[in-house]
Every structure is written in C-alpha cells, then in structure tokens.
Symmetry: C2
Subunit: 323 residues, 2 copies
Amino acid sequence: MRAGVSVGTVSNVLNRPELVAEPTRERVYAAIAELGFVRNDSARQLRVGRSRTLGLVVLDVANPFFTDVARGVEDTANQHGLAVILCNTDEDPRKEASHLDLLAEMRVQGVLINPIDTDGRIAGLRDRGIPVVLFDRLGDPAVECSVAVDDVLGGRLAATHLIEAGHRSILFVGGPLTLRQVQERYEGASAVVSARDDVELTVLTTTALNVAAGRAAGDRLAAGGRDALPSAVFCANDLVALGVLQALTHAGLRVPADVAIVGYDDIDFAAAAAVPLSSVRQPRQQLGRTAAELLLAETMADEHEHRQVVFDPELIVRDSSSR
Amino acid sequence: MRAGVSVGTVSNVLNRPELVAEPTRERVYAAIAELGFVRNDSARQLRVGRSRTLGLVVLDVANPFFTDVARGVEDTANQHGLAVILCNTDEDPRKEASHLDLLAEMRVQGVLINPIDTDGRIAGLRDRGIPVVLFDRLGDPAVECSVAVDDVLGGRLAATHLIEAGHRSILFVGGPLTLRQVQERYEGASAVVSARDDVELTVLTTTALNVAAGRAAGDRLAAGGRDALPSAVFCANDLVALGVLQALTHAGLRVPADVAIVGYDDIDFAAAAAVPLSSVRQPRQQLGRTAAELLLAETMADEHEHRQVVFDPELIVRDSSSR
DNA sequence: GGCCGTCTTTGAACCGATTCAGCTCATCCG
DNA sequence: CGGATGAGCTGAATCGGTTCAAAGACGGCC
C-alpha cells in the first residue's frame, strides 16, 4: 500500500484507530487523502454480515404525517451512524412486497414499517434475523415491537367534540376501510355515536387518503344538494379534510356554518388552511424516534423484550368546527 | 445445493434464466422457495462493482416540493429496478457532505442532488465514476447534466403580476440568500422592479424556507405596525408564504386587502390555504423524472453528452394577490 | 463409428474489506 | 543475560454471489 502498510492495518485505522500507533495512523490517513480512497461498503457488509442502513416503509411520502415521522427516524438513525432507506408503498401491497424483498436482499439492520398487508413477508424478514418494528399500528407483542397512537381514542375525541358542539348528523370520510387507521378512527367515532340515540353517523369511503380523494368526496357531497348535507364531517386524515374543505368552499358552502370539519394528524398545513382545521394531533416525530429506538435496542441486545408503545392523540380545535 | 445444482447455475437462474434448461430452472426455483433463500446483495455488488440504488439528496423532505420531485425520481428508478435512497440535508453543508460520503461508500449508481455547497465532494464522486445530476439548479454543461426551472423567470412573473395589480412596494421574504433558488427568484423580481422608477423592492431574509421561518417573518412584519407594511409580499417558497399568511391573519391583517402575497412552488396546500395562495408553479414530478432519466442515460451509455434541461415556471393567480 | 456443433452445467477465480492467529521487536524484570 | 510481556503489524482465510473458460451430454451427419 501507499503508506507502506498492510491492508489489515488500514482496516484497523478505519475501524479501531486506538489499536494503531500514532505515526502509522497519520501515514495511513495521509495516504487515504492522497489516493482519494473510499471504503467499499459492499465488501465490508459482506464480511460483517449486515449493512449500516435501516429501511423505513411508509404509505405515502407526500403525506406530511409520514415525512415528520421520517424526520424522527432519521434523527435517531443518523445519531447511530445509520442511513435510512425510505420506501413508498402508495398503499399497494405489491409495492410493499417488492420493497421488503429489496430490503431483505440488502440485509438492512432492521425495518420500520406501517404495514398494509401483514402477509408472510414480515415474518420472513424476522426469520432471517432482521428485526421489524411496526409503527402507527400495534402488532403482536410476542413477536414484535410496535409504536402507535390510539386511533380509537382519536376517533372518540373527534366525535365527542362534534356532538358537544351540537352536531347530530356526522359523516365519516376516508378509506379504504381496509386500512387499520381508517377503521379504528371510525370505530372510535362510532362507539361514541352509538351511545346516543339522537346522533347519526354515516360513511363516505374514499379510495385513498390524499387531497385529490378528499376533493372528490367533497364534490360528491356538494353535488347532493344542501339538504342532503351532514352537519359535520370527520375525515380520516388532514389531506382528505383539506380536499373536502376545498371542494365545499368551491361549491359555495361555508365551513363551519354549513358543514363543520374535523381532520386527523394536525399536519402543519391544517392550521394554515382556508378555514383553520380542527384536527386530532399525533406526536409524529416522537413516533418516529421511538420506533427507531426500539429497533436499535432490538439489534443491539441479545435478550430483547418486545414492547408496545401507545401514545395518546390530542384534539386541537380550530375554526372549522366551532362558530 | 439443495436442487443438486452448482452455485453458478443458481446465479444464472437468477440473472439470466434463458440460459438454463426449463426443468433445472424449475428445480432451482423450488429449492429457493423451500429454503427461503434471499440473495445477498452485498456479495453481488462487490462482484459487479456497483449497487442497484441511486441517491437523492434534497434540502428538506418535509417540503412537498421535494416529495413531489422524489415521486418522479422514484417512478423512473423503480421502472428500472433501482431503489432510491432519500437523504435530507436540512440546508446544512455538513449533513450534505456526510450523506455524499455515505453514498460514495455504497457505490450508488448515481446521485441526484440539489446542492448547497458545490465543494470538491461532487467532483470526487464523479472521479470515482459515479455520475451526478444536479436538479433545481444548473451546473456546468461540460461536466454534468442538470435540470432546473427558470427561477429568474419565476421571479419576474411574480413581480410583474404584483406590479400590474397596482402594488408599488413589494417585500421579498426568503433566505438564506446563499441558496441559489432564493437568490435567483429575488433577482428576477429585482430586474422587473428596477426597470421602473415607481416601484420599491425590499428584502426580509429568513434563516430557512419552512413554515416556522415564514411565521417568524410574518410576526416581524405585523409588529412593525400597519404603516410600515409593504403592499405586497413575494415569498421564496410556499411554506414561507403560508407562514407569513398565518402570522398576518393572526395579527388581524387581511390578505390581500392589507397585504397581497405570492408564493413559489404551487404545492398542493397552496390552493387550500386560508386565502388561496397565488404561486409560481414548477413541474415538480417532471423535474424528478427528467433528472432520473438523465442519470440513467449517463450510467448506461459509454458516450454521454451532458445536457441542461430548463423548464419554464407558470404563475397561478389566486385570491391572495387579487381583489 | 467418429467428428462436430449446440446446449447445459460446472468449478474456480475474483471482488475488497474484516478478522485473527501469529510474528517481530522493544522493554522490563529477575 | 535469558525470558516474559505486550504493543504493533502482517498475511491469509473469509464472506457469498458473478463470471467465464472448459467440460460434459446429446444429436446429427458423413
């Protein structure tokens, strides 16, 4: 080698510099700088058995909820010298599967996932020694760690608030209902409503949880005419809520006078909306950080006790649901 | 091996199945399924010399502008069987450097970057045979491909529109001014303004381009009192604009009556804002797709002609700047 | 039967960093 | 002075695919 030193020594300089004598170390650093040497991570991984990356699989990168979670994950990961590979599933089980396959081939240290399809693939990763932590959804504490926010409670908070504000016909907008988040938020609202005789809860399902889907739902609502309108709408997330708000406003309806709206997630844009949006807030970054920490704990320790962490959501009331 | 077959054959089944006889192929697939075999990507990479990933380095994942670009990049990359590693720099040159180092170690196929700091590191990647494509910023066509939107034109569009709407004192809000995008958008506006004697353009710099920074700027504006207010504000991006809008509204000022606002990027949330935001729209996904295509073209071809692609932005006028 | 060409399959070299047993040499101690 | 000690360094084995020259199998043809 350039520094008159063996490859073994170079490796030591890079990984355990304290083992190498000062002058040698200096020479090696100098040679590295001079030659522009960059360690080949594949070779290192091959030998060590696993990579220095961690996979994060989310439903939709364009949703600020997930980018905030990703922030949290990234913070924690970077602190430990790990890179994060962000994968987008678009709520498509096939995309999810193909991303998981890729992550398995990469021998990532672990995977954080908000799963759509809990098919065998996740178990497969785990069999292969790759820990998987579920986030924004609880799993089986016997086999996995998970971090979630209590969505049923979130649904209750929203519904309770609307009922207290005097609304008697509430429409839940969101979908697909196969998404656990959507289902549980609905469940929470439903539980509150069924405890009373005088309140009605209906559902309008959407095909996705984005602004366009919300806009479509809002258009349908508006097209039904003023009489068919519910007095309040509870949306499965803020993107949908913003879409509904846009469509209703566009159709000349007033929020909250004609229809009140409550969203979910309390993304930054909720407060900046046409009518500041009431929303159920989740501790997003903390969700990400906690998930990453659980994952790291699992990779480090020999003995590991799986944990379930549940955060409580909080209702933020703004103009869209109060007069 | 389980299928009574050599490793070489397995490799052929995986990579060039047409070379292997039907029955053998079947046996190998069966064995793979039975054993739950997953190819070790590091070993493959080590041999082949490069990975099947591509790095995307952005200023801020939480900015919908970048997630839309990322979408475009991902689409194209996935079509070619590549994974995308999304890196966040938070406008911090140190983070940028460390991400680039990591990507170099990973021997990514290429890097798409919206650079802050064009220090030696990018050239270093290129020397090592890793193509780099700049996006949202033009580079030197002799050494690199780049894709951008004409930010100077965007600035002109915004300023021209405001002047035509009768505004004579315009405030530009954005920063840091070291960001090329910020600078050029300002330049465009400045060029239009200096062509006239009766219009005044001032600048309020922010430390970042997010909602919080915008809110802070808006608070400062509002604190100055009604008399000190400019008649219009042109923001370096929509996040800042939304922040300003929020702060002004909160302070009891009316938009656009007291102050008009024009943003930049036309993110989905701009239309859904408290006062629907006028904004300069950029073809975001297309920017991402084009950048990825240029990168792929460079990796494939032996001979490669570097290209510069410039898209034109488009002004979308909404309520925030028209009465 | 022998030779040739085609289609399959094999097996060993190789990629580059890590790891570790073992070597060297200076120092210290009895 | 001999031997023990340990710091510092070396060099070869190793990880698991990919690649390719070469071997093998088989059929056709003279």
